[in-house]
Structures are given as structure tokens and as C-alpha cells.
């Protein structure tokens, strides 16, 4: 539905009122901003003593860049792991063996219900206390494992609904040329479903990246944590957090944009619908009634 049906193009009086409204709106927003800036200024938050250590070369070299590398490293591992987990368990849920289907469903539903932060805390303690000899970096591994289990479950749902949303003729065609159901799934349906869900997976990457920030709460040296270490010496938590937040937003905006572009380019290569989803619950899953969203 195009929203322009809801109203006429404004006439001269309407346009005048719009202009007045805009001016009032801008004045209000600017007023609130100005108030914030004035208060922050009286508290000395714009002093160069606080901003300079948050922006100088030392901050980037020793804190933001290593932190960003750790964030990306955790996110990269988690994405690859989650895709593998998702394909395996998504196929598991489509299996014609009841036991496989049942186990996959329980696993997927369980890991989607438990908060990611809770899994991180648990795995961090588990690796730290009991698997110290095996796991060299408990915090990093805990972040990655927690992200894999949650996002992998989400992707498993994407795989399942992606296959279910293909035109029925695709599966029927596979069966009619003598492929078994497993072969049809693997060679006809899954490849198309995977391409159709690729943009949604890229959107899920935004979720992975954002959730990796929870690693801060278990002292994994990701971007927020490294900003925290930086400010503990230079006494400028607000400034360092601001820089870290801007980096996060830029990175995620870039990923969202890539997802959007990908959705448009791939639509010709599959009989399924490509859709990048709104980023909280990719809409493929919404149509299937399965849930997604997180952080």
C-alpha cells in the first residue's frame, strides 16, 4: 500500500502549515540539543583534556583498532559457525526421520529462548573453571559459542522457512525425475533457499555484530571493553563510549546497506523470495510465523 493514498498533496495553506510545523519541530529538537550541550559544557565534558585522549593516535593504535579487530574476529567466527549450525539444524528440522526432526527442533527452540548474555556468562565460567587446558581464551570462545548457538538457531529457521517458501513445483520436479527426498532437498531446494536467504543472513550479521558487544560484560577485549580499559586511565568514559558507538553504528549501517543491495541482485537467481528483512526478524521468518528477533 502506498501511503500517498492516505492524503492529498498539500495545497498552499497546507504547505504553509507544514513549514510552520517543520520550523517548530526543528526549534524544539535544537532546543533540547542545545540544553544538553550547555549542561555537558558546564560539566566540562567538552574539555580537550577529555576528548584528546579519546581521539589521539594512542587511543586508536592501542585500544580502538585492537578492540575492533577482536569484535570483527568474534563476529566472523560466529557468522561462519552460525551458518554451518543453521544449515545442519535447518536440514535436521526438515528431515523425514522423526528423531532427527525432534532433536533439531528442541535444540533450535531452546537456544532461541535463552538470552545470549546468559549463555556468554555460562560458557565463560564453564571454560574458565573446567576447560582451562582445552580452551585458551575462555572469554573469546564463550562469545563465539553463544553467538553461534543463538544465531545458528535463527538461521536454521531461515533455512526451514526458506525451503518451505519455495514454490511446491520445485520439490515435485525433483521427485518426479527420480531423486529421493533427501537428494531433492540437498540438490534442488536447499541451494535455492540458501540464495534466497543470503540477504537475511547478512542482516543477521548486524545482529551478530551488535550482540558481540555483550562480550564487554564478560570482559572480552572487544571494542566496548577496550574503550572501557582506555577510559579507566584517562577518566573519559562518555567520550570513549561515543567514539565506540559511532564505530558500531557505521559498521552496522554498512552491513545493512550490503544486505539491501544483495537482496536486489540475487532475486533473479532463485525461485524463492529474497528479502533482507527489517533486521530484527527477517521477514522470511515472519511469514513462516517463526520468531527471530534479538538485540
Amino acid at each position: 500500500m502506498s501511503s500517498s493514498v492516505l492524503f492529498d498533496a498539500p495545497g498552499p495553506r497546507g504547505r504553509r502549515r507544514q513549514t510552520v510545523g517543520n520550523v517548530v519541530g526543528v526549534v524544539v529538537v535544537l532546543g533540547v540539543l542545545a540544553w544538553m550541550l550547555v549542561v555537558l559544557n558546564t560539566k566540562g565534558q567538552f574539555s580537550a583534556d577529555l576528548w584528546q585522549p579519546a581521539l589521539d593516535a594512542r587511543a586508536w593504535q592501542s585500544y580502538y583498532v585492537p578492540g575492533l579487530v577482536n569484535t570483527l574476529r568474534a563476529a566472523a567466527f560466529a557468522t561462519v559457525g552460525a551458518v554451518v549450525f543453521g544449515i545442519v539444524f535447518g536440514m535436521g528440522r526438515l528431515s523425514h526421520l522423526r528423531a532427527v526432526r525432534w532433536v533439531s527442533s528442541v535444540a533450535v527452540e531452546f537456544f532461541r529462548a535463552v538470552p545470549v548474555l546468559m549463555m556468554m556468562i555460562f560458557f565463560n565460567a564453564l571454560f574458565g573453571f573446567f576447560f582451562r587446558e582445552v580452551v585458551a581464551e575462555p572469554a573469546f570462545t564463550a562469545v563465539v559459542v553463544a553467538l553461534i548457538l543463538y544465531n545458528g538457531s535463527v538461521i536454521a529457521e531461515l533455512v526451514r522457512s526458506g525451503v518451505n517458501n519455495l514454490p511446491r513445483g520445485q520439490g515435485e520436479a525433483g521427485l518426479s525425475i527420480g531423486l529421493t527426498r533427501g537428494q531433492t532437498l540437498r540438490s534442488v531446494q536447499l541451494p535455492q533457499a540458501l540464495i534466497a536467504m543470503l540477504p537475511a543472513v547478512v542482516s543477521q550479521l548486524v545482529v551478530v555484530l551488535k550482540d558481540s558487544a555483550l562480550g564487554q560484560l564478560i570482559a572480552y577485549g572487544e571494542l566496548l571493553r577496550s574503550a572501557q580499559v582506555l577510559q579507566s586511565g584517562s577518566g573519559n568514559p562518555l567520550q570513549t563510549l561515543f567514539v565506540a558507538a559511532v564505530l558500531f553504528i557505521l559498521l552496522n549501517a554498512l552491513l545493512s546497506w550490503v544486505a539491501h543491495r544483495l537482496a536486489r541482485r540475487l532475486s533473479s537467481r532463485t525461485s524463492g523470495r529474497t528479502d533482507e528483512g527489517p533486521g530484527i526478524g527477517p521477514s522470511i521468518a515472519m511469514r513462516a510465523g517463526g520468531g527471530i528477533p534479538q538485540t
Partner: protein, 230 residues
């Protein structure tokens, strides 16, 4: 499994008030969801409104907030709004940080509520809007009386997903100094009683499964029941 072991674990559950921790998360979720619903609806109306500036502002809000980690939002609330701007939501610290947690959860998830409602609006046929215009309703009345009621019914599934996400994300209120909620309590328990680590984790995990599953079922049931047959 001997008696000592079991009674030790039971004593642990009582000592750390696990139920109280869950109650905190349920309260955070309830108030956070109310706030998110109100703010999200306003944002959705802004995004489909005739005023380009409002539509732009709504879009900008959604795109920025959606791309920001919730931890960052929570920390900003405490470091910026509370520490520097001097905003307090209660003189009692317990409630002050509880409400900051609610505000963080509400404003963060409002962007997802907005997108869910927009998706719902897209399920409303053009004819409905045309009919509303034809009987002379101005934009706000058309939105309030015709479009939004149908959009909400079409948006129940994604709204339910957002509610589940909000419940799970209520653990992130720990970053806004709500240190008596489930993930913080679990962390303390594991730190002091590592021998019970599996039992402690499973207790909390199953608690969340028990909370999440009814929401999911209710959502599915409601979206089927309330779906507008077309």
C-alpha cells in the same frame, strides 16, 4: 544423587532469590514493552505521515537505534543522562536504575515495533485507504480508525517476536546497573558456587524457555485468530 547435593542446590536457589530475579526481568519487560509500543506506534505514524520532515525523523531514529548495540544505549543512559545531564527517574537508586533500564529497553525496541507495524501496514490493501479517504477522513483519523487497527492485527507475529526479544534483552539492563536481574544473579551464583554451574545455568535457561514458549504460542494463536481474512 545424594541428599546433601540436592539440599545444597535448593539452599542456593533460596539464598539468591532466583524467583525475585525473574520477577525483575518480567517487570522490566512489561514496562519496556508498554513504552516500546507507544513510542513505536508514534514512530510508525511519523514514517507514513504526510510531513516529509516527520517521515525523515522517524526513519533516522529507526536506522540509528537499530544499528546501535543495546549495551551502548544502556551505558549512555547512565553515563550521559544520569551522570552528566543529572536526570533522575527516582531518588531511590533501585528504582532509578530500574526505570533507566525500562527506558533503554523501550526506546531500543520501539524501532523494531515501528518496523513491525510498518510491515503490518503493508498488509492493508490500498482499497482500505482509498475508502477512508473517500468518506472524507483526514490523515490522522484514517490512520487511527482504518489503517492502524488492521495493521496491528497483521503485525501480531512480528510484534510477538519483538516481545520475546525484549524479554531476553531485559538481561542487558545489567549494563544500566540493574544488578539484581537474572543474568547478574546467575553470574554471582556461578562465581561463588562453580560446582553447581550446570544446574544453575539450566535453572535460568529453563526459566526463560518457560516464559518464552507461552508468548510464542499466544502470538501464533492470536495472529491466526485476528488475521484479517482477505
Amino acid at each position: 544423587m545424594d541428599d546433601d547435593y540436592l539440599s545444597g542446590f535448593t539452599a542456593l536457589l533460596v539464598q539468591y532469590d532466583v524467583l525475585g530475579a525473574f520477577w525483575t526481568n518480567i517487570q522490566l519487560t512489561f514496562f519496556g514493552a508498554l513504552l516500546a509500543l507507544v513510542v513505536g506506534t508514534v514512530l510508525a505514524v511519523m514514517r507514513i505521515s504526510p510531513l516529509p520532515s516527520l517521515a525523515w525523523a522517524g526513519g533516522a531514529y529507526v536506522n540509528i537505534v537499530r544499528n546501535t548495540p543495546l549495551t551502548v544505549i544502556m551505558t549512555f543512559l547512565v553515563l550521559g543522562a544520569w551522570t552528566q545531564l543529572g536526570l533522575s527517574l527516582s531518588t531511590n537508586f533501585t528504582w532509578n536504575f530500574f526505570w533507566f533500564g525500562v527506558v533503554g529497553l523501550g526506546f531500543y525496541h520501539a524501532s523494531f515495533v515501528c518496523e513491525a507495524i510498518r510491515a503490518g501496514v503493508n498488509t492493508v490493501p490500498v482499497g482500505q485507504a482509498e475508502a477512508a479517504r473517500a468518506i472524507g477522513l483526514p490523515f490522522l483519523s484514517a490512520a487511527r480508525l482504518v489503517i492502524l487497527p488492521q495493521a496491528f492485527r497483521g503485525a501480531i507475529a512480528p510484534l510477538g517476536n519483538t516481545l520475546i526479544a525484549l524479554l531476553k534483552n531485559s538481561t542487558v539492563a545489567a549494563a544500566a546497573s540493574v544488578t539484581w536481574e537474572t543474568s547478574s544473579v546467575m553470574k554471582t551464583m556461578i562465581e561463588f558456587q562453580p560446582n553447581y554451574i550446570w544446574e544453575i545455568f539450566l535453572t535460568f535457561a529453563i526459566g526463560y524457555v518457560i516464559l518464552v514458549i507461552p508468548i510464542g504460542l499466544l502470538t501464533t494463536w492470536m495472529s491466526n485468530r485476528l488475521a484479517v481474512k482477505r
